[in-house]
Each structure stands twice: as structure tokens, then as C-alpha cells.
């Protein structure tokens, strides 16, 4: 009896072993050499990456490569990465980075140039179709060394791939617009006009929900208007031109939006602005596409089913923002090739569609046009259209930007709360920016 049991157990063990081997073999092809690797990746706590977490098990199943995710609040992420990337041997094999970390990481030689991976026939998937990736995002988030050092151009190359990118879009309340027979604004003039008309038509309701709080928030909101209104922070010689007519117009637009916005709008960060729209306190919302998932979530929103989307209104041109995250391989990573395989898998057509269906932000044109994705998220077609106008140069991505951004944001906050004159305020910003740029060596060749 005992012997029979023993042999059965042995047989079962052998069968199990065989199955495991067979499964490992099943992972064959390009993934086979890395089947037992465990990748450690650093992702932000962000709706897109929450969706990524849901599709990662699929990757492990398909390739046998394990993925361990260190998910951090996105503002904390950069601090952690700065420490990790400066080590001789880092902990992370793949990182998601915020768009303006690109300048610092590439400049400090901390991100892998992706050329050698895409050249390697054993790693690069021929059906990847890089042309399908959204141009604006690729240049904004992945590219470095081209025009102005951070844009598309003949001298540039790829250091990361956009993943979890966003652009700006106008959300509006269908019910309110229908009730008063209002047209969805197509131009800035129409939008600003409506912004101040809404509080008259619907007492207690603000026009547009916008960020405005001191610092990054106010600066972000201003830049959102600057590009479509024809402005830029710098001209082609790096002279600050934020104080020209377009700049003043953008600041005026921001002030008007905040003045006609919901109560307390001068102090709104992103969370409060979104909160006021979800709470039904404003009729419009002009900001990132990442919020779409929350609008129809009854736990978070009082405006379920009442919101529709339109393109970021046009000023003298179309120019919606480009932001969000990209993924790249740290120069000090341990498993670079396997990390590339994960990166390629996530951003492939299949991966992109999978993450979109899980509630993430797709990075490919084809995903935005995909029938299944559109059936599940009807706003995807509008978002895809908006992406065609995504402006990679709406905000400069240079190492000293953090400082200029903070100054711009605090100065604009003074305009909004202390009544500082707009021209005077922007002249001040331009002057201080010039000093920062001089010190950073941007005028060495002039």
C-alpha cells in the first residue's frame, strides 16, 4: 500500500515537473532567454498605471518574465528616481517618468538610448509599427537632442516611449448647454464669453473649472492658453517672450476664467478644479484627458451621463497640451534587454489596446480609432482628434524649467489674487527668466 502511494506521488511529481518544463518552453521565441527574469519597475500611482497593473499578469503569462512594481505617488517618484539613477547599480529595470524629468535624466546620461534595442533583431518586434505612436507624444516625452534640445529634429534620438500620456480637452455639461440653447465653444473668444455668461444664467455655477493655485497650478493653467493663443515662453534664440501680446492675452484669459469661475477658484489645484466640475459647480472643464474615467463613476461624480467632450478651443491656432508619462530604461538597470521587451510589449498595438480597455490612456492612433475601444469609451474618438493637435512645444523641457515655472506660477497667482498688473507681472517674469537663462549658459553663442 505504502509503495503504491509512494510511486503515485513520484509519478505526480514527475508529471508536474514535465508540465512546468513544457510551460517554460511554451514561452519560447524572443522571450525564452529571459523567462526566469524578475523585472523591478517604478510606476506612479495614477489611473493609467492602475490599468497597467491589471494587464501585467498577462505579460508574465505570455513571456514568463516576472514584474515587480514599485508604485509611488507621482510627485515622490522623481525624488526616488533621482537617488536610484545616480547609483552605480540601480534597483529599477524600467521607470515611468514625468515629462519634464526627461531633460534632467537624459542630460545626466541616466537613460538608455533606445537605438541599440530597436537595432537588435533578437529584441525588436518587426510588427511594432512605431509610426502609429502619436507624434506629439513621442517628441514631447521620448525624444531628446533634436530642435531646442528637446524636440523633433535631425540630431535627436529616442530615450523613452510615451505611456500614459495626456492632452487637454474641453468637458462641458450637455444638460446646461441644452437648457439655455448654448453652442459648444470652438474658439477662445466663444469660450471666454460663455465662461462669464454661465454664472448669470445659472446663479451659483461657475463657467470653467481651472487650476489657479500659486506655483505649478497657475503656471500650468496659463500655458494651457498660451499655445493656442499663439504665444511661446521663448523665441528660437531662447529670449523670453512670455510678456508679448499673446502672453498678456493668455494671462487675461486665465484671469477671466478664474474671475467667472466657482467660488474660491483662485486657490484651486488640479484636485479642486476637477472636484468642482464633478460636483456640478461649473459648466465646463478645460484640462487633461485623464479625468474621463472619473466623470461617469457615480462614487466620485454627481454629473454622470451629463458630460460631453470637445476639442480644446482654438485661438490663433490649435495647440493642446502634451503631458503625462513615458517609460524608459535606466542606464544603471540590471536587466535592460528584458526591460526593453516589457516596454515593447506594453506599447505594442495589442498592449496599447489592452490597457485602453482596462481604463488607461492609449498612446497610439490605431487604438483611438479602434472599434472595441470606442464601443466601451465613446469619447475616445474625440480624444484621438485632439491628439492630432497636441503641441509638443507648449512648455519648454529644459533643466532650468522648474525654477522658471515656479516663478511664473507665483507671479500669476499674484495677478489673480492681489490684482498685480498683467503686463508688469509678465515683464518681471521675462526679466528674471532671462537672468536664469544667462546663468545656465543659454546665451553663450550669442
Amino acid at each position: 500500500m505504502f509503495n503504491i502511494l509512494k510511486s503515485t506521488a513520484l509519478g505526480l511529481g514527475a508529471a508536474a515537473l514535465l508540465t512546468t518544463t513544457a510551460m517554460a518552453d511554451g514561452h519560447g521565441g524572443p522571450y525564452a532567454p529571459y523567462a526566469d527574469t524578475t523585472l523591478i519597475v517604478n510606476f506612479p500611482a495614477h489611473p493609467h498605471y492602475d490599468a497597467v497593473m491589471r494587464i501585467l499578469p498577462e505579460f508574465t503569462k505570455e513571456t514568463g518574465i516576472e514584474v515587480e512594481v514599485d508604485q509611488l505617488p507621482y510627485l515622490k517618484m522623481r525624488e526616488r528616481q533621482t537617488l536610484e539613477l545616480a547609483q552605480d547599480e540601480g534597483e529599477y529595470d524600467l521607470i515611468a517618468y514625468v515629462v519634464f524629468s526627461k531633460a534632467d535624466y537624459v542630460y545626466a546620461d541616466q537613460l538608455e538610448n533606445l537605438a541599440k534595442y530597436f537595432m537588435n533583431p533578437k529584441l525588436a518586434d518587426p510588427s511594432y509599427d512605431a509610426d502609429d505612436l502619436i507624434d506629439g507624444y513621442v517628441y514631447n516625452i521620448g525624444f531628446a537632442g533634436g530642435g531646442k534640445g528637446y524636440l523633433e529634429g535631425k540630431t535627436g534620438s529616442l530615450f523613452g516611449i510615451p505611456y500614459g500620456s495626456e492632452t487637454s480637452i474641453l468637458g462641458y455639461r450637455k444638460d446646461i448647454f441644452e437648457k439655455h440653447g448654448l453652442e459648444v465653444p470652438e474658439t477662445y473668444e466663444q469660450m471666454l464669453d460663455l465662461a462669464c455668461k454661465i454664472p448669470e444664467l445659472e446663479p451659483g455655477m461657475g463657467g470653467v473649472a481651472s487650476r489657479a493655485a500659486s506655483g505649478h497650478h497657475a503656471s500650468h493653467a496659463f500655458l494651457l492658453h498660451l499655445a493656442p493663443l499663439g504665444g511661446r515662453v521663448f523665441d528660437d534664440e531662447w529670449n523670453p517672450i512670455v510678456n508679448n501680446a499673446a502672453g498678456v492675452k493668455a494671462a487675461n484669459a486665465l484671469k477671466k476664467i478664474v474671475d467667472c469661475g466657482p467660488e474660491g477658484a483662485t486657490n484651486f489645484g488640479f484636485g479642486e478644479a476637477l472636484g468642482s466640475f464633478l460636483n456640478g459647480d461649473t459648466a465646463m472643464f478645460l484640462d487633461t484627458t485623464v479625468v474621463a474615467g472619473q466623470i461617469n463613476d457615480p462614487d466620485k461624480s454627481k454629473v454622470v451621463g451629463k458630460v460631453d467632450w470637445a476639442l480644446h478651443p482654438m485661438g490663433t491656432r490649435r495647440g493642446s497640451q502634451t503631458g503625462g508619462f513615458g517609460i524608459g530604461i535606466p542606464a544603471n538597470a540590471e536587466n535592460k534587454e528584458a526591460a526593453f521587451l516589457l516596454m515593447q510589449w506594453l506599447t505594442s498595438k495589442t498592449g496599447d489596446k489592452m490597457v485602453a480597455l482596462a481604463g488607461g490612456n492609449p498612446s497610439r492612433f490605431s487604438t483611438h480609432a479602434d472599434a472595441d475601444v470606442n464601443a466601451k469609451f465613446p469619447h475616445m474618438a474625440t480624444f484621438g482628434e485632439a491628439l492630432k493637435h497636441a503641441d509638443p512645444d507648449w512648455r519648454p523641457i529644459i533643466p532650468v524649467w522648474g525654477k522658471i515655472n515656479a516663478d511664473l506660477g507665483t507671479t500669476l497667482s499674484k495677478v489673480l489674487t492681489e490684482g498685480l498688473d498683467i503686463q508688469e507681472a509678465l515683464d518681471g517674469v521675462a526679466e528674471r527668466t532671462k537672468a536664469v537663462m544667462t546663468e545656465a549658459g543659454y546665451y553663450t553663442w550669442n
Binding site: 493655485a213 467660488e263 522648474g402 489674487t417
Partner: protein
């Protein structure tokens, strides 16, 4: 080794572990910060790679209007919070220094705010100050009064109120402890001599509590210069720079502007300021003691 020498070295040997720990835990980081403040140092570099720039960071800061504004905000904030907290804290201690029923429960309740994590305090007050759904504006609205733009127009006042709420209990418990350890004989003598309640407070209790109060005020002052989380959560330094205290500016300089050298120089300015204050306070305290000793000596001579 000769016994005499060994005897002389013994105390130093006992001190050595403490000295080593002190050097590693205190002096090394401090030296690192001072060394870093003379460099043009980005977080992507190691300190050795950073370029030495002498006093440049200090000079740039001194000429930076934003830094000066931030310093002004810090001084204003520290002055108001410490003044109000001292008045309210000591006042409460004087009121509650008696045998009431349920006193211990009351005391525990009073020190609750201090036990709450600063981030939570910040969030709590931020929601209470919310322009439309916040407690205060809803109350004002209900009373038919005009609402106040707490974190907009009156941001500095609002964060001062929140800090007073959180830290008055600290002054309160220390003052209460000081009061309860006062010599009962002096108070009894005063009562027998017919001193009124106010006279007892002004001439007996406060002067006797003074050494404790000075240390308490100093501790609060040092803390007020370093407060960060509550303000970070409530206003992030805005609107404009109106609530951007130094600690917040240091943190932004290091993380947002990525200028570790400048942030270190700013920390050193703050350190020098606090060091100056501490020395001044202790000098004042010492002066008081000397004067008291002289008075005592004079009284003894008279006798």
C-alpha cells in the same frame, strides 16, 4: 601606562562613544550641508562632481527678492503664532490650575490637537476653510454674514489660526506643569498678605514661571521656523508667495528647482537665524539669573 595618566584619560574614554555618535549623527550631516552650500549642485550629481562656487549661493540668495519675501513671511508667521500661543496657552494654564471634577479628562482633551499628524491637521483645516462647503463659510452663510476667502485673501491669517490651534496645547501643558511645581509657600504668603488673584499672577506666578516660559517660547519659536507640512497641505505657499515660509522654499528649491547648493545655503541662513535667537534667549535668561542673584545678595546683606 602610568596610573595618573590612565586616571586622567578615563573620563574621556567614557565620553568617547557619545562623541563618536555625535560626530556621525550630527556633525557629519551638518558639515555636509555647509560644504554643499558652497557648490553648484544638482540632484543628479554626487557632491564631488558639483562645481565649487564659493559664496555665490549666499550672495544670490541675499539679492533674491523671493527669498527675502519668504524670510519676511517666516518672521511674521513665527512672531504671531508664538505671541498668541503664549498668551492663550499660559492663560488657559492659569485658568485650569485648580481642582475641578473631570480635570484630567479636560486636560487630555486640550492636548489632542498636538497629537494629530500635521498632514491631517493641514487637510482638516483646508476643508474647514473651503470657500463653499467649508465649515466656516457655511456657518457665516447660515448666520447671514458675508463669507470670507480664507485661503485666498487671508491665507497667512488662516494658517496662523491653524497653527495656534495645533500648538497652543504644547504651551499649555508646559505652563501647567510649571504652575503646579511652584512653591506653595510663596503663594500662601501672598494670600495671607491679601494679594488679589491678579496680583498673585503678575507678581508671583508669572515671574516664578519665567525660566520655563522662556524655554517653552524658544522651543515653539524654533519649531515655528521649521513648520512645513501643515502649510504645504493647506496652501502650498500661495497665493503668490504670501504663505511660503522658508522651510517650504528650501524644499521647493531642492526638489522643484533642483538647486541643492542654494537649498543648503538657505538652510544655513535659517540655522544661523535660529542659533542667534537661541543664544539671545539664553543670554537673556542668564542675565535675569545674575540680576536675581544680585537682588538676593542685596537682601541678605540688608538682613
Amino acid at each position: 601606562m602610568r596610573p595618573a595618566l590612565a586616571n586622567r584619560l578615563t573620563p574621556y574614554m567614557f565620553l568617547a562613544p557619545a562623541a563618536v555618535i555625535m560626530a556621525i549623527a550630527l556633525l557629519y550631516p551638518l558639515g555636509y550641508m555647509i560644504w554643499g552650500s558652497f557648490r553648484d549642485w544638482s540632484p543628479s550629481q554626487t557632491i564631488g562632481e558639483a562645481e565649487f562656487v564659493g559664496f555665490k549661493n549666499y550672495i544670490t540668495l541675499w539679492n533674491d527678492p523671493n527669498f527675502r519675501e519668504s524670510l519676511g513671511v517666516t518672521l511674521k508667521f513665527a512672531f504671531f503664532v508664538v505671541t498668541f500661543e503664549m498668551i492663550i496657552g499660559v492663560g488657559l494654564a492659569l485658568l485650569l490650575d485648580r481642582d475641578l471634577r473631570g480635570m484630567s479628562l479636560l486636560r487630555t482633551l486640550f492636548i489632542l490637537p498636538m497629537m494629530i499628524a500635521p498632514v491631517v491637521v493641514g487637510l482638516m483645516w483646508r476643508y474647514m476653510y473651503h470657500p463653499t462647503v467649508g465649515t466656516y463659510n457655511r456657518l457665516l452663510d447660515w448666520l447671514g454674514l458675508p463669507t470670507v476667502d480664507w485661503l485666498g485673501q487671508h491665507a497667512l491669517m488662516s494658517i496662523i489660526i491653524a497653527d495656534i490651534w495645533q500648538w497652543t496645547p504644547f504651551i499649555f501643558i508646559l505652563s501647567l506643569a510649571a504652575l503646579q511645581s511652584l512653591p506653595r509657600s510663596a503663594l500662601e504668603a501672598a494670600r495671607i498678605d491679601g494679594a488679589t488673584g491678579w496680583q498673585q499672577i503678575i507678581h508671583i506666578k508669572l515671574p516664578l514661571m519665567m525660566p520655563v516660559l522662556i524655554v517653552t517660547a524658544l522651543l515653539r519659536l524654533i519649531d515655528a521656523f521649521k513648520v512645513l507640512e501643515v502649510i504645504l497641505v493647506m496652501t502650498e505657499g500661495g497665493p503668490g508667495l504670501s504663505t511660503e515660509i522658508l522651510a517650504l522654499r528650501i524644499s521647493r528649491t531642492a526638489t522643484e528647482f533642483r538647486e541643492l547648493g542654494v537649498a543648503a545655503a538657505m538652510s544655513n541662513y535659517l540655522l544661523i537665524l535660529l542659533l542667534g535667537l537661541t543664544v539671545a534667549m539664553f543670554a537673556f535668561n542668564r542675565l535675569q539669573e545674575i540680576r536675581a542673584a544680585r537682588v538676593r545678595a542685596a537682601v541678605e546683606e540688608d538682613e
